[in-house]
Each structure stands twice: as C-alpha cells, then as structure tokens.
C-alpha cells in the first residue's frame, strides 16, 4: 500500500521552509513541471531525483541522470537509502523525506507562551529608573531636565535598536523575530552591568584599590559576551559549545585590546589606575593604614621605578 510521503525543503539553519505532501510510492523532484515537487533552484536539474518507497517502507533516492547527483553530509551520491532524518542536498537546496510513519516526539512542555510584556515593561521601567538615578547621583552641575530626558531616550533608543537588530538577524536566520526575548536579554544585560559596575567601583573605593578600579571595564566585555551568547541561543539553540568558544575568543580579544591600549597610553604618560573617590566616606571598608604602613608601600614602589629606569635609560 502506497503511503503518503512528505518532502520537506529546509533552510540553511535546518528549519522547514516548505513541505509537500505526495502520494507514494514513486515521485520525482526537479525544476521541471513534470516533477511532483518543483524546486526553483537554478542549480537543480529539470529532472533531478527519483524517490521510490519499497514495500518494506525503505526509501530509495536515485539521481535521475548523471548530471544530477545529490549529496549527503557533503558526500556525493547517485543512489542511496535514506531515513526521515537524512538531509539531502541538490543544488543549493536542502531537503528531507519522511513518510507518514515517521514518529515525532511527544509534545514539549509549553515554555514560551505569549511574550511577558508586563514583566518586560517592568524590567524596562527599572532600567530607566536606575539610569535616571545614576544620572542624578552624578549630577554636580545645575540640574537640567534635558539631560535626564536625553539620558532616558538614549538608553531606551539604544536598547530598542540593539534588540531590533538581533530580532532582524533572528528573523532572517531563525525564522522568527522574537523581539521581546531579545529586548529582555538587552535590558537584563544593562541592569547586570549597571549593578556590577556600581558594586565593583564601590569595592574599589572602599578598599582603595586602583587595580580593581582599573579593571572594572573587563566586566563590560564579559556581560556583553554573555548577552550575545543568549541572543544567539534565542536565534537557534544549537552549537552552544562553538558559540561559547567564538564569543570567549572575542571577549578575550576585547579585554586584551583594552588592556593593551591602556598600557600604551601609560607609556605615553597617561594616568595610572587610581581608585577615584566617587563614593561618600561612609562606604569605606578598609581600616585606615598608619603613616608607616603607607610609606612602606611608597618605598615598595621605588624598586619598580628603579627597574623601569634601568629598562628605559637612554644615556649610556
């Protein structure tokens, strides 16, 4: 008994873009109108593939002519038995063949219902509020309404633009825009970085640590990397390891570029890392050092300066 055969055309990302229902056991695939499934791909022959289903349900694919081979996993074939998960490539087109007996998994838990606009709006409101407070805490001149409005609009615009770009990429490569999820990630990353940098600077101040203060920006790259990873996962949740690897390399490159830049500026006389006193004295955690302890550190600096001198002396 002839079964129903489904031909599924796949996108580059492996998503089904078209699905054709055909009556078995034999059918033709090609660009011509004699085909059962017509593929508008200039690299596909008018009569490209023959598909035959045997009585035992096995599906045999054959090239219709010598000029119309197909590939499986990049391997050129003229004839092959395929199952429902085998992806064939003809010309630029990827496709797979399933019959009605193909077993699909049970329904997954409903993870994503509707975008949670209310929660998202609350998150955005928090972000704007935090942004406004930061502006207010750093306000040392005459307060100007325009500054706050510009700050808010700038943040909102930036987040929308960022999420919009990811949604666009998502739509192109993943099939769906998923704007709300991208926006959620962007707002989350903003909040995480704001919180992180506040804490890091507060700690740098409270411990008087120029080293911490100078390296706060490293966190920026890490947060950015994590956000990009999440955006990519939203587009297509696959190749997590590869993505992690690529992003890690980019993040490290970013950090290295920043550190190298500072090291070079330092060579040109830029100010060394100093923990700025941007917090009220109440944030002090470290015990005040005695004069002797401080000058012991000062004396310690001397050896480094002498080494610098030795390394950099221009006179014979």
């Amino acid at each position: 008994m002839a079964r129903v055969i489904w031909i599924e055309i796949l996108s580059r990302g492996g998503q089904v873009t078209h699905r054709y229902r055909c009556a078995g056991p034999e059918l033709r695939i090609g660009r011509s109108y004699q085909s059962d499934v017509i593929i508008d791909d200039p690299a596909v022959a008018p009569d490209h593939l023959r598909v035959t289903q045997g009585g035992d349900g096995a599906v045999l694919v054959e090239a219709a002519g010598p000029a119309s081979p197909f590939t499986i996993h990049g391997e050129r074939r003229e004839r092959s038995l395929v199952d429902g998960d085998t992806v064939l490539r003809i010309g630029h087109t990827a496709l797979r063949i399933r019959d009605e007996t193909y077993r699909v998994p049970a329904a997954a838990m409903l993870v994503e219902a509707k975008p949670r606009w209310i929660e998202l709006s609350a998150l955005i409101a928090v972000a704007l509020l935090i942004n406004g407070s930061t502006l207010w805490l750093n306000e040392t001149a005459e307060p100007k309404t325009s500054r706050y409005l510009a700050g808010m609009v700038g943040l909102a615009g930036g987040l929308l633009l960022w999420s919009g770009l990811w949604a666009l990429i998502s739509r192109i490569f993943g099939g769906a825009a998923r704007f709300a999820r991208h926006l959620g990630i962007a707002v989350g990353a903003f909040l995480a970085y704001t919180l992180y940098s506040f804490l890091a600077e507060a700690i740098a101040f409270s411990l008087s640590s120029g080293t911490i203060s100078g390296n706060v920006a490293i966190g920026f790259w890490i947060v950015l990397g994590i956000a990009c990873f999440l955006h990519l996962q939203v587009i297509a949740p696959s190749h997590a390891l590869l993505k992690t690897g690529i992003i890690a390399v980019l993040v490290l490159a970013g950090i290295a570029a920043q550190l190298a830049n500072h090291a070079e500026q330092l060579k040109n006389g830029a100010q060394p890392f100093i923990a700025q006193t941007t917090f009220p004295p109440a944030f002090r955690l470290a015990r005040a050092q005695s004069e002797d302890q401080f000058f012991a550190a000062v004396e310690g600096l001397r050896a480094k300066l002498d080494a610098d001198r030795k390394a950099g002396a221009t006179a014979p």
Partner: protein, 458 residues
C-alpha cells in the same frame, strides 16, 4: 603664575663676549689675569657726555669682546640656536648653559661655533657649566686680545636705579647694546637673579650686562613675557666662581654628561634640604589645617568658584603655591619647581554621592609638567586609606602617591602626593604636593611633613 611666563632666551641667545679679566674673586691667578688691569672701557671719563654717548663708548670698548655662539647640526652645519657670550680671559668666554645645552646633551648631533663682531669665526669647546645658575664656560679656538672685567662690588653695594647696559646679538640681527636699570635681586626666587629693567631679547642670552664703567655685573638670562622690559641677569659672582672652578682642558662629552647629572643631583639635594629645613606653617581651610612651606621663595595664589553663575553647587576655594626654583636642563625639561595645592570644597546643595563625584573631578593626578617619554619612566602610583595622626587630631585621608623616575639621572624622581580627607560627607580638603627632580628619600621626608601638618584645626 609668576614664572609661568618667564622664558629663557635661548633660540637666539646672544652672547656678547666681554673680555673682562676675572681675577676678582676666587679665580686662580693665571698669567693672563694681569691683562685685566688697565683694561680700556671704564676709566676714561667723558665728563659732559650725554647718556647716549655712554652707551656709545661702552659698546665701542666692548665690540671686540663680544661673541655670538651658534649651535649647529653636526651633519649639515645648519644653525639650530643662537646665543651670545663674552670674553673673560684670552680664549675663555662665559655664556649661558642654555645656549650650549644642546651640545652638552647630544654632542654627536650638534657642534658649536662662535662669531665675533668682526665676522671672524671659529670653533669652541665647553669647559664647564653651572647648571644651577645657567652659566657655561667655553674656550674658543684662539685667544683674543681684549676681554671684559667683572665689577668688584657686591650686589648689596649697588643701588636700585643704577644704569646698566646689556649687550648681545638679539634675534641674529647684529650686536646691540641696550640701556636699562638695575633693580636689585628678584624677590621670592630661589635662584638669585638681578632684576634688570631693559629689553633683553632672544639671542642676547649669555651676553654681559655692564655698568657705565664697562664692568660686568650680570649675564643676560631670561625675560618675562607677561611684563614689559622685565628681564633677568645672573649675578656676575657666579661666573667668577665658574671661571675659577672649571678645568682648562675640555672634558670629554661623556664627562660633561656625568657632570650634568652630578650638578643636578647636588642642586636638587640642596633645594630640598632647604625646603625641609624651612618647614611648614599651618594654613586653615574650613575645619582643616594643612601645611604650606615657610620658604620665602614660594608664591601663593588663591581662587574660588563662588562668584560663578549659575551658582556652583559646591564651593571650591583653592590655594596654589609654587616655588620660583626651576632650572633649565633642556628645551623640554625644566626641573626644580615645587607645587603645594589645597582645595577646600564644601557642598552647597549636593548630596554625599554627588559631592563625592564632584570631588573626584578635582583630584586627578596632574603632573607639574608635560610628560615626556624621553626623560621619564611611566608613572606609577600607590594609594591607600590612611590616618596620619591620632584619631582625635587628624582626619582619615585617601592618600595617593604617584612617582616617575628620570631615565638619565640616577635617584631623581617626580613625585605627586595627593590627599583627600575622608571624614565628612559633604566637605573635604584635597591637597597635593608635587616635586620635580627629587630624591626618593627627600620626597618621603617632605611627604611625611606634609601629612603630619594635616589636622583638624580646632
């Protein structure tokens, strides 16, 4: 402010070669010294001469004793700087160190040449210099028949208003004589300079300033750009001393460079020892008292933002004290100036967070001079939260110590010590002490003095 616009006159430092005999003070008596006696240009009296004829007579007598010194590129012979000099004995002439500094620092790149008023010229060599007073003793390739003599009077025997005549070759347009007035020693200056009210122009550096007798009382060295006719002379006594102390055989370039490092270290050690001995006096800023140097060559200026519109949200009252004690080493290196800055800041209507942000904008590290890779290692800093005295006397401070070393001069550093009081949320004193070319020990000693002086004043 003072001194900021003071420039040396090197680009065209004109050295008039004044062939004065140097025997007067401490100079070893040499055979030529006797020539000083009976020197023309002074003893002849022209009783009824109008003023202009004095200058005429002096210049006539000085013509043959003046030199122009050119620093030239060794490779192409093109001149790079011009200055003046004056003969003091046979083939010896005095000029400014800054006239010959390029050669001293880079003997492979530059060479020196002299020209007389009669367009005679030849080579010259540097015998020695006095870096603290910006003088150099040079030897020309052949002895000249005439030379200047130094005025035997001490400076305190001179009275303000005495007519002096500065000579040199301003701007390379020909030897000239300039009439001006002696106005005593410059006040509030660590380096002794005569205040000469007359037009000293670039190119005249190293030239002599003489009395109406033609005796040298000073050497043209610098002028103030923000004034009119405010010029400076190095008192002649330092030239006399240099003439006595410098060797007669030209040292090798390497030895000159070593001598430079030695003199800088000695001069700076003396300077900082004086700062230390002078000690600090307390000045009050709101609830705080902080130290200012008692040395009388410090000048302090105050400023505030209180009058600005719109009304500032934190009031800053700043006192900037700086010492008139820098010396010329190279065109891009003047060292020896000290800065003490106190900024008392209190919030008008900023909260503690806003105030802290405001304060942070005030305490960035500012080096007293532009950073140059050629001279300095990259700066390094250490900082900590500290308390200099007992808890009931001194406020806790954030202390930031930044230093950079001089690449070519051993044990010399630039140091900046900044303290920001950390006892109140909306009121603070930001203090900074900056030294140039200081030994690390002296910087620490002075830094401790400075921190010890920081207290609550009630």
């Amino acid at each position: 402010m003072i001194g900021r616009n003071m420039v040396l006159v090197p680009r065209f430092a004109l050295v008039s070669l004044l062939a004065a005999a140097m025997l007067c003070r401490g100079a070893p008596a040499s055979a030529q010294d006797t020539r000083a006696a009976g020197q023309p240009g002074g003893e002849t009296v022209h009783p009824a001469a109008p003023v202009s004829s004095t200058a005429e007579r002096i210049f006539e007598a000085a013509r043959g004793k003046l030199l122009q010194i050119r620093t030239e590129l060794a490779a192409s012979g093109r001149q790079t700087t011009l200055g003046s000099a004056f003969l003091v004995d046979g083939d010896l002439a005095i000029t400014n160190y800054h006239v010959v500094s390029q050669f001293v620092l880079e003997p492979d790149l530059y060479r020196l040449e002299y020209f007389t008023a009669g367009s005679d010229h030849g080579s010259l060599q540097v015998l020695g210099f006095d870096i603290a007073d910006d003088l150099a003793l040079v030897k020309i390739d052949r002895a000249q028949p005439e030379h200047f003599v130094f005025d035997p009077r001490k400076l305190d025997e001179m009275i303000k208003g005495e007519q002096l005549y500065a000579m040199g070759n301003p701007l390379d347009i020909g030897f000239a004589i300039v009439e001006g007035t002696y106005n005593g020693l410059v006040e509030r200056s660590y380096t002794p300079h005569i205040h000469f009210s007359g037009a000293v122009n670039p190119g005249m550096s190293g030239g002599p300033a003489v009395t109406s007798n033609g005796d040298v009382v000073g050497i043209n060295v610098a002028t103030r750009l923000d004034g009119e006719l405010v010029s400076f002379l190095v008192p002649a006594q330092y030239a006399v001393a240099l003439l006595g102390a410098a060797p007669r055989d030209p040292p090798k370039p390497k030895a000159l460079r070593a001598e430079l490092a030695r003199q800088i270290a000695a001069r700076q050690t003396a300077l900082y020892a004086e700062v230390e001995t002078a000690g600090l006096q307390a000045a009050n800023f709101g609830p705080y008292a902080a130290g200012e140097s008692k040395a009388d060559w410090f000048t302090c200026w105050g400023q505030t933002n209180a009058g600005q519109a719109p009304k500032p949200r934190a009031i800053v009252e700043t006192t900037n004290c700086s010492s008139e004690s820098d010396i010329y080493i190279a065109d891009d290196l003047h060292i020896g100036r000290l800065y003490v800055t106190h900024s008392y800041i209190r919030s008008a209507d900023l909260n503690a967070f806003q105030f802290a942000t405001y304060v942070a904008t005030q305490n960035g590290l500012q080096w007293p001079a532009r950073w140059r890779e050629k001279w300095y290692t990259p700066p390094r800093c250490t900082q900590d939260f500290m308390r200099g005295g007992a808890a009931d006397q001194a406020p806790p401070v954030e202390a930031i110590w930044c230093a950079r070393a001089y690449k070519d001069f051993p044990d010399l550093f630039d140091v900046a010590l900044t303290t920001v009081t950390q006892d109140r949320g909306t009121e603070t004193l930001v203090s900074r002490l900056s030294f140039q070319a200081v030994s690390y020990e002296a910087a620490q000693t002075l830094g401790k003095q400075f921190i010890a002086a920081l207290r609550w004043h009630e």
